[in-house]
Amino acid sequence: MQSYISIENLAKSYGVVTAVNNINLGIEKGEFFSLLGPSGCGKSTLLRMIAGFETPTTGAIKLEGADVTDVPAHKRPTNMMFQSYALFPHLTVGRNIAFGLQQDGLDKGEIKKRIGEVAEKLQLTALLDRKPAQLSGGQRQRVALARALVKRPKVLLLDEPLGALDKNLRTETQLELVRLQRELGLTFIIVTHDQHEAMTVSTRIAIMKQGQVLQVGTPSEVYETPQSRYVAKFLGETNVFAGGRADRSGGELQIESDEAGGPVRAAFTERVPLDRPFWVSVRPERVELATSGGGLEGTVEQLSYTGVERHYRVRLKSGATLDARRVNLGAESDLAVGDRVFASWSPQASRLLAE
């Protein structure tokens, strides 16, 4: 089935440098899709190719089945919100928002009506006569959003849209973006390096590294079942141990791991071949620490308190470290630095990872 936006064998290289390397992606109508990765992974280049600012070296971009690869930026039904906001400093907020509508040759009455609508939606009505220089960071961000949305694009592209906002305002704005996107029923594609942001806003996330897409899935899919060490480590914190010999009994595996210093149990999966190098990972919040019983033995090396939770770093007998977290439920910690502990977790909490 043809996706709303389909990206086919897309590649972009600058001389010898490959920014985007043979990407295939399908994005559906009404999705809030994230391109997530560290800086230099090609996510911005990919977004700029969708916007029409960069010409792909090879491959095609299709929108509703129509090939738009060679359509210049000013003729594409996409609009972009820039990282720097790129508000026109010489125009008022109202005329910034009107700019795109004027290019379409809409009549004055229609322009005014649509500016009024979008301004109300984004609480900009009182600011229409101001110049961008007279606005706060948060207000500018809303103007940039209004200017892109007022054109009613088929796809809204957001390039690190919240990078310049402080943390509290960011969280607020993320929720605001999700609300807007649901209300308008538009397709949003956002580029971000902040995994927390991607998880909060997206319907699906594509995790990118060195110009390639490593994994695509819903936030819980990519967090709960990462398919590679890179994805597991990039999304949140995790403990990773190299796996050795594995014995299967029923649906369960018993894995010898020199790194962990003992056997680790995991649920069997056919996804990861065990005859090649593989790793076992477990999220810190799934690890249980006890002063007695079975599991991996170690000592508490560090304890930190963040309010929401306590974070323990355990030095295992093998020499490796293991992180564990416990949600703060009001009780004092029964563990202190230097205590001998046993770490264990359910086989379902273990994830097998390929390279």
Binding site: A51, G52, A86, Q103, Q134
Partner: protein
């Protein structure tokens, strides 16, 4: 800040005197009532009246201002195009060479430029006159205009034009409607700089002119052959005044733009990030 020592004060004084004493003397003697240049005969503005009544001087001034205005306009337009190429196209074959070639006229001996332009006009069979002076002045002021415009364009966020294109504006129109309005102070100072440079040029004008077209500096130079008259002092003071006005205006325009930028930051700071 440390207090300047007597040595500092003295060196400033000497430096300024070295630079400006001749000019001060010139301005003072332009108001000399005596016919003899070196003898003070009381305050008078008679030489200014003589200058304004001299048709040859007025004719020269007209040529000078026309040449300066036209060549400054041409240099600003060409300089904008050159700056766009240099700033927006970061990588292309021969970029370093082009950059060097754009700036070379700044340090090239004026006589060399003047001779080469004369040769070119003769070879091409172009009749020498106000047109050839204007062309030559455009050439030599172009590099100064380019430098001023280039430094402004570097600061200008390239995503402004991208945003305009994204909103449905074709590339050329995006430059005109978004980048140019934000370059106005730089355009004005590039124009004023080119204008003043053209106004006081003697060497290039002399080489590229033809019969009947003399700029003001050329008129002055030819009069000096018959001795320095108080009239010359008066014309020179007028030219000096015009040039100073032009430079001060250019300075003011760019400073105002700077302060507007500062106020912007201040305002942001006051309103806070909410």
């Amino acid at each position: 800040m440390t207090k300047p020592s007597w040595f500092n004060r003295l060196s400033i004084l000497f430096g300024l005197a070295f630079l400006y004493l001749p000019i001060v003397v010139l301005v003072i003697y332009s108001f000399n009532g005596s016919k003899l240049v070196t003898v003070w005969g009381g305050f008078s503005t008679q030489w200014y009246a003589t200058v304004l009544a001299n048709p040859s001087i007025i004719e020269g001034a007209k040529v000078s201002f026309l040449v300066a205005a036209v060549s400054a306009t041409a240099a600003t337009i060409l300089g904008t195009l050159a700056a766009v190429v240099m700033v927006r196209l970061r990588r292309f074959r021969g970029r370093a060479l082009l950059n060097g070639m754009l700036l070379a006229p700044m340090v090239m001996p004026e006589v060399v430029m003047a001779v080469s332009m004369l040769l070119m006009f003769v070879t091409l069979g172009i009749d020498r006159g106000p047109l050839t002076i204007t062309l030559a002045h455009t050439t030599f002021t172009l590099c100064f205009a380019t430098v001023v415009l280039q430094s402004r364009l570097v600061e200008l966020d390239p995503s402004l034009e991208e945003a305009a294109r994204d909103l449905g504006c074709p590339p050329a129109k995006a430059f005109v409607s978004v980048a140019l309005p934000n370059m106005v102070p730089a355009l004005v100072s590039a124009w004023l700089l080119s204008f003043t440079l053209s106004l006081d040029d003697l060497v290039i004008s002399s080489f590229t002119t033809g019969p009947g077209a003399s700029t003001l500096p050329m008129k002055i130079y030819s009069q000096i052959k018959f001795g320095v008259t108080p009239e010359i002092n008066a014309i020179s003071t007028i030219i000096l005044g015009t040039v100073v006005l032009g430079l001060v205006a250019a300075q003011l325009v760019s400073r105002r733009a700077e302060q507007r930028g500062k106020r912007r930051c201040l305002k942001q700071f006051e309103t806070g990030d909410s």
